[in-house]
Amino acid sequence: MAPPGPKRRKLQHSEDNDGNSVSVTENGGPGVTGPTPAKQIASSNAQDHKRRDRTIQDGVYTAEVYKSNMFKLQVDELLQQVKPRYGKKEAPAENAMRTLKSIIEQIPSRAAISISEAETTFKSHGIVIPFPSPRPPQDAKYKLQYDRPSSINATGSYPLKIATRMDDGLTIDLVVTMPKSVFQEKDYLNYRYFYKRAYYLACLAAGIRECKDHIFKVSFDCLNGNQLQPVLVIHPSGDEGIDDFSSSKCRIQIILAFPERTFVDKKLRPHANCVRPKGGDEETEEKPLSATPFYNATLQSDATITAYLKLLHATNTTCDAYKDACILGRVWLKQRGFGSTLRRGGFGNFEWAATMAVLLQANSGAGGSPLSTGYSSYQLFKATLQFLAYKNLSKKPYVFQAPDLTFPKTDAPPPIIFDGPRGLNILFKMTPWSYARLQLEAKLTIETLGDSTFDHFESTFILKTDMLQYRYDASLEVPLSALQLDSTSEEYDQNLGEICRKIYTTLLRALTDRVTALAFLIPDERDWDVSASKPPEDQRRSIIINIATDPANANRAVDHGPAAENKKEAALFRQFWGDKAELRRFKDGSILESVVWSLKDTSAPVLEQIISFVLQKHIGVEAADKTRFISDSFAHLIPAGRIQGQSGVSSFLPCMNALAVVEKDLRALEGLPLTIRHIFAADPRLRYSTVEPPTTTMANSIHVPASLVIQFEGSARWPDDLCAIQRTKIAFLLKLTDLLSEAQPTYSTRVGLENPSQPSQNQAFLDVVAPSGFAFRLRVHHDREATLLDRQLKDKTLDGQSRESAAAALASYKRDFINIPAHTQVLQTLCTRYLALSPAIRLTKRWFASHLLLPHFSAELIELLVVRSFLQPHPWPVPSCATTGFLRTISWISRWDWRHVPLIVDFSSTFSNNPTDLEGTGPKGMKSEDVEKIQTRFEAWRRIDPAMNRVVLFAATNLDNEGTTWTNKAKPEKVVAARMTALAKATTDLMKAENDRVLSISIGEVEQTEKTEAFDPERVFVSHVQEYDIVLHLSPKHSTSAKKKLKPAYKNLQVQQTNGSSDVVCGFHPVELFVEDLQSVYGDAILWFWNPEKTDLIAGIWNPSVAGVRSWKVKAGWNSVPLFVTGKDDEHKEQGVEIQVNKGAICNEIARLGGELITRIEVNR
């Protein structure tokens, strides 16, 4: 391995002994041997050349060769981690291989015997010959025979050094090549080869089992789940003897191969027929026999095992980065749940490596090779993905060096990469759905890697993306028993395949563009003991069909079919839909065949209606009845959580409409000294992101009116003083009240006061209750305030306190008048663009609320967290229902290392909802410099405030790169943020357990799964009060849950006190005011937790720094009790007075402050 590039460079450095050239070669990994260095050599100026060359070396990572330095460094680390060390750990396994080889070499040849003889012979050995189905005819004329193998070799990824250390352990392949002498020329026909192969394998099994000197556990399995190809699996004996290789954590698989050119290659081409119909060979002339591509390819794959070993090895020597790219591919495939086995989709490690090897070679007639040997591992990886993603291999097969090749025509052509020299379709094991899924995942990753702003290493290689609840929006559980197949019959495997294919095509046809992906999870098979025949499949297992939906179409009520005149298509349509199809006339005058589904709240989701209908019609009543349909399982936890029709925000529309009316009426007012320039919405209710959809004041008077910001046109007549500006604003509001009540008497208005402690901050607001019952709160925005505050901040003649207060005022000015309106506007658009965003935000807020964390986080911050999983959805597509949006957000929170990583949301990035039309993504959005800037700012904050007393979470967007707007002043505090992470981790663990449970229904032990109960989404939303030190139980009279009945009483009270000037109560929430008082009285001595949605309790925990005994201080900052404390030294017995927090008195104080609000105070600590 001495590529020309680096060698030349090394030479140069030794030539010009320049002190600068240290560590240059260190940086250059194998990836730097790109085609570019060659050009550089031509440069005449040696000095100049050296410099430029080095530039390339250092800059190489930032260029296309690797995505970015970060990416490259992390990839290097990953490769190092997953490669097996080929050291001590693997040594026992290698020993075992050698032992096995010698055992096999010593197995004596057996004379040819007939099939029935063979079976009886082996019965005495205690071995059942693993004949594939259909079982061989007892009267077969040919004989079975064992001869010493022509060669025994290690093969597969292990000797090629492209294996990976994953949790499920290594599999080391040992290939035993059967001698030519065992076979006859016509053995490729009618399974004869496979019967002989099975016999040969049984002989090997018997030989290994009967070897007295060495003990191995032997069992049969099928190679890649293909029942034609049984293999021998050797497990470590576990007896800690010399042959025990348990410590290597691997298993050895003995694969059989036959020498090339045993059979005529041409006969095994995809279009040939190798399984003759039972009737006899004579009739074949008249009717062309249907091709048996799968059978042929299976046979051919046995012939080419060694050939592929050679090919991969050769590629490895010509292309340096090949090995690493293979490993990257393996990791990628593994994280997406792909595997070589038939049931996992038939695209695994071997297929990846072989595809890449083929693509690295020039295809005669088709120009150069798709991949270049000069590529870096990352480039190879990406280009291979690109090939898989954008080439439609089922429509246009990739044929490598096999000019005159024809493929059998079918209505659903399989994907083909035909490797001519070895005569094999590499993708022969793939199903239509696995190919579709492979393409989809490849596209998603290509799209991810195309984004240069953020680091996508994690989403590409680290994250396990096939977690069902994260990846898919709905799933179907079809018990195998419901399909009513005979698991003991010879055709079981074939029938199962066929029925899956049928379900797939039916669902695809029925669901059309409602879904973006359909993935099948078919139970895996296990190896079985050599002394038994292959066990029939456990019918209690299930097939799981996962569905990713397109929210824009998923809940559509009407499916349009062909026009009525189009007789032929209409008939087909009618045939498919049966009595569901109806002829309808539509608004545009067209008369179409169509299917209509119910959209009522009470009915099942449209998808479920469709699926159960088509399953019943085309698969069977039993299948439809026993199928369990799960979709959007969390949505019912919030009101209007399910996306209805084409909108996720319909429940917010009344409020939005009311806002439009109020805005119109305000703008129509005449006689205002200045005209209104803008009215901005600035409230979660006006951006579709409150848990409960907004209600009118009549229904609920607890909620504070929704905030609006009103800006008048500029004028020079405003005073140039902050305090005076605030008073002038009040004058404006009073004027507005007068004019509004004159012009629109149905409105009720009043001016309220706020911020009594900060005379330079906003002092007043105007509450407007529209006749529709929705209430709004207006605050005046005057842009001069920013300048004045800024000037005060810089004014050195002001005292420190004043400047501090100016800084605080500036921050809250920016937040209230600039950032919140901007944020509201962005969210309004995003919520209409991504239908699932609003429900996902609301569900996430409910999660925060039910864990009593909501008041510690600003609403905008939580919204940003959710928006992030929509705008940077990698490695998944954009979430399309509340559940996936919520779960992915929580999963991200659980992984978010907020101590070291800022949250960055790029609103300007555009990702389409449907991953199939991703090509149009332009270079919009944030630049990496912007991200860099935010990162720098974040690091600066961490340097200033390493203990995180002021800023804990850091959240920046492209609109607001300050990063502290929503989280300043320790909102949330460090403990609270840590609790958020802990709770999110607990939630993701629960989801992982649920995922494993679902998988075990399909794959694992059935006995186990019957015990575990079904998952209840509400478990994620339960909080335990015992964990808190103090719990204040509040009177139900004043808690929000009982608001409706009791409010009128207060209303009367209110009216009396305000002398009837206003008859509306809104925004009176005594519990909230109470908590605010508690917070300002006790400061950080007690941390309070409560749920603003359900105010039945307030929980508090003592600050640990307060709870201990402390030395006495005049101003401790909390209510204290003095104690005598004896010095530790017994000799002196010196007594001092120290203090401790006076919990009793504080509880008493709280009881006094809360009065009738509190029913009971519970103290746990």
Partner: protein
């Protein structure tokens, strides 16, 4: 304050934490019995509150410090009324002139001031009852009864563990009160705390009415404010004008806002500088004119790449140190 003497009676007990001390530092500790509440857990039913009291002795004595007591750790609902009542009814009937608290909830409005302009006479603490003389503040006006916005809370609360200075009508009543406190402690007499006014739900319902003052009240307060503001602005301008012309001890004249033409501002000057430089760049020699320029540029770019690579490498190393080796999730 004979601290050693008062410690004696409780000495003999052997437990590590003994009964409540009666003094700490130079403070006397006065336990208060709290009003009972049914909602409390039984273990806290007889909890006591502890006041730390001493004669007021500020570092700069004021006119009233001789007749004042200093109390630390006051209850959160302490107000003038219940403190007055405490002394009048339970501690010898001394008459309190007024009480100055160090804190309030909601906090007392902070008024922005200039460094030099604000020197309260006699080092008075920044209490609620600060003398409202017509001093010139940096913004707005010092509000009086007319110009102040209506209060939105009926009663103030105190921050937990706050302090207060109690000013008695004369020195004698102060001394009397102090003696009475000592006596109380000696006799172990029960002194009970009277709950503050307007707590519980009432506090919040009242608040909810107070935040919506009548229009007339609001309007008149604003009118008064703006009139006073105009007056204050004139005074402020006078101060500014003075500042403009008076050199400080180093002989420099402070540049401040105002004046006929207005002195140059720092930001403006900087902006001009940037503009000027840009113009110079545009008209000057292009930076790829000389060979050395291209060479240097390339060198710079190279250095930048190298630096970035180093930064990234460090970042990845830090990441590894933080969360261990990278390993695909399972």
């Amino acid at each position: 304050m004979p601290s050693s003497k008062s410690l004696k009676p409780s000495r003999p007990t052997k437990s590590r934490v003994l009964s409540t001390p009666t003094t700490v530092s130079d403070f006397t500790i006065l336990p208060l019995t709290l009003p009972t509440a049914a909602t409390l857990p039984s273990i806290y039913a007889s909890a006591k509150h502890y006041l730390y009291i001493k004669p007021h002795a500020p570092s700069q004595p004021t006119a009233s410090s001789e007749r004042s007591l200093f109390i630390a750790n006051i209850p959160f609902d302490a107000g003038e009324t219940n403190i007055r009542a405490l002394f009048a009814e339970q501690l010898g009937g001394s008459r309190v002139e007024n009480v100055e608290f160090d804190s309030a909830v909601p906090a007392i409005a902070s008024i922005k001031r200039w460094k030099t302009a604000d020197k309260p006479a006699g080092g008075e603490s920044r209490g609620k009852k600060r003398k409202r003389d017509e001093d010139i503040v940096a913004e707005g006006v010092v509000e009086d009864k007319e110009s102040r916005l209506p209060q939105i809370w009926e009663h103030e609360l105190r921050v937990s563990g706050g302090t207060a200075v109690i000013i008695f009508v004369d020195e004698r009543s102060c001394k009397g009160a102090w003696k009475e406190i000592q006596k109380c402690i000696k006799e172990g007499r029960d002194v009970s705390w009277v709950e503050g006014e307007g707590l519980g739900l009432q506090r919040y319902t009242t608040h909810n009415t107070l935040i919506y003052p009548s229009k007339a009240n609001l309007q008149s307060s604003i009118n008064a404010y703006l009139t006073q503001f105009n007056r204050a602005e004139i005074a402020r301008n006078r101060v500014r004008a003075k500042q403009r012309s008076v050199p400080d001890e180093d002989g420099f004249i402070t540049v401040v806002r105002g004046g006929r033409t207005g002195p140059a501002r720092l930001e403006e000057a900087e902006r001009h500088k940037v503009e000027l430089e840009e113009r110079r760049k545009k008209n000057g020699v292009k930076d790829d004119f000389y060979r050395f320029q291209t060479r240097e540029k390339r060198k710079e770019a190279e250095g930048e790449l190298r630096r970035k690579f180093e930064v990234d490498r460090r970042r990845v190393e830090e990441m590894r140190a933080r969360r261990g080796v990278v390993r695909p999730q399972t």
